[in-house]
């Protein structure tokens, strides 16, 4: 149990360090870096590498934004297995809805609770 927390720390930290290197060394904007990470995540799941990565690193693989791309591809493929090509469109948000829905809901609640700082 303690080991899994440590592995999550190291793996998650390394992914964030790569992100920092993309910003600092390759002089890209944060938005570009995040979009790139999502695309990398979906490609990794496309070639079947992200599942074993999650088994190994736990939250170190599911908390970084790369898992968003993984979830999109995963949901789409899962639904496509059952309902064919149209399943890609139906299942796209099936697994990632937790992140998007809670971001929207708590965004609205946050806007109700807090006042903008100047």
């Amino acid at each position: 149990m303690v080991i899994s927390v440590f592995v999550a720390f190291v793996v998650g930290g390394l992914i964030c360090t790569i992100g920092q290197l993309i910003i600092d060394v390759f002089k890209q904007t944060p938005a570009f870096m995040l979009s790139l990470f999502v695309v990398i995540g979906s490609v990794l799941d496309g070639i079947g590498l992200y599942e074993p990565f999650i088994d190994f690193a736990g939250a170190g693989a599911t908390v970084p934004i790369t898992s968003f791309g993984n979830g999109l591809v995963h949901g789409a493929l899962k639904e496509a297995e059952q309902s064919g090509l149209i399943g890609v469109v139906i299942g796209m948000f099936q697994l990632t809805s937790a992140g998007i829905t809670s971001a929207i809901v708590f965004g609205v609640i946050g806007a109700l609770l807090f006042k903008p700082r100047s």
Binding site: C16, T17, G46
Partner: protein
């Protein structure tokens, strides 16, 4: 005087980035957020009826609730100044991008302010993710 292009001028005034320190900070903060995520997952696995596969959802939701308070109190921005990518790459960075734009635009009203500005920063992530995933999933389905 030599003809300086805008790029060379900009390069001269580009602030020196302390690369080693930035990387160390993003490693520590990003790693801590993932470790926190792992602890939350273990908590849900242990005390609630979640499997290894489904435990990601409540973990992400919990992290985003935490982000809402940290963003509202103005703490998240302060951490982000030190931690750089360490606070952007974890899912809390996605939450912070959505929630901070929602709070920032609340004075413009809830429909045109909050509603239309919420995904101003996070939209690029969703668009690129959905498009690339669509292409990959279509290819994989056709090949299978």
């Amino acid at each position: 005087m030599k003809t300086d292009t805008i790029k060379t001028i900009a390069k001269k005034h580009d602030p020196k980035r302390p690369l080693a320190k930035n990387c160390l900070m993003s490693f520590i903060f990003g790693g801590s957020l993932c470790a926190l995520g792992q602890m939350i997952s273990l908590f849900y696995l242990y005390f609630f009826d979640f499997s290894e596969e489904t435990v990601g959802d409540p973990t992400v939701a919990t992290l985003i609730i935490l982000t809402m308070f940290l963003t509202g109190w103005g703490v998240y921005d302060k951490i982000a100044q030190v931690a750089g990518a360490g606070t952007m790459v974890p899912v809390t960075g996605f939450g912070n991008a959505v929630i901070s734009s929602a709070i920032e635009h609340r004075n413009e009203g809830f429909v045109l302010g909050v509603g239309s500005n919420m995904f101003k920063l996070a939209g690029s992530v969703i668009v690129s993710g959905v498009f690339s995933s669509f292409v990959i999933a279509i290819i994989k389905t056709l090949l299978a």
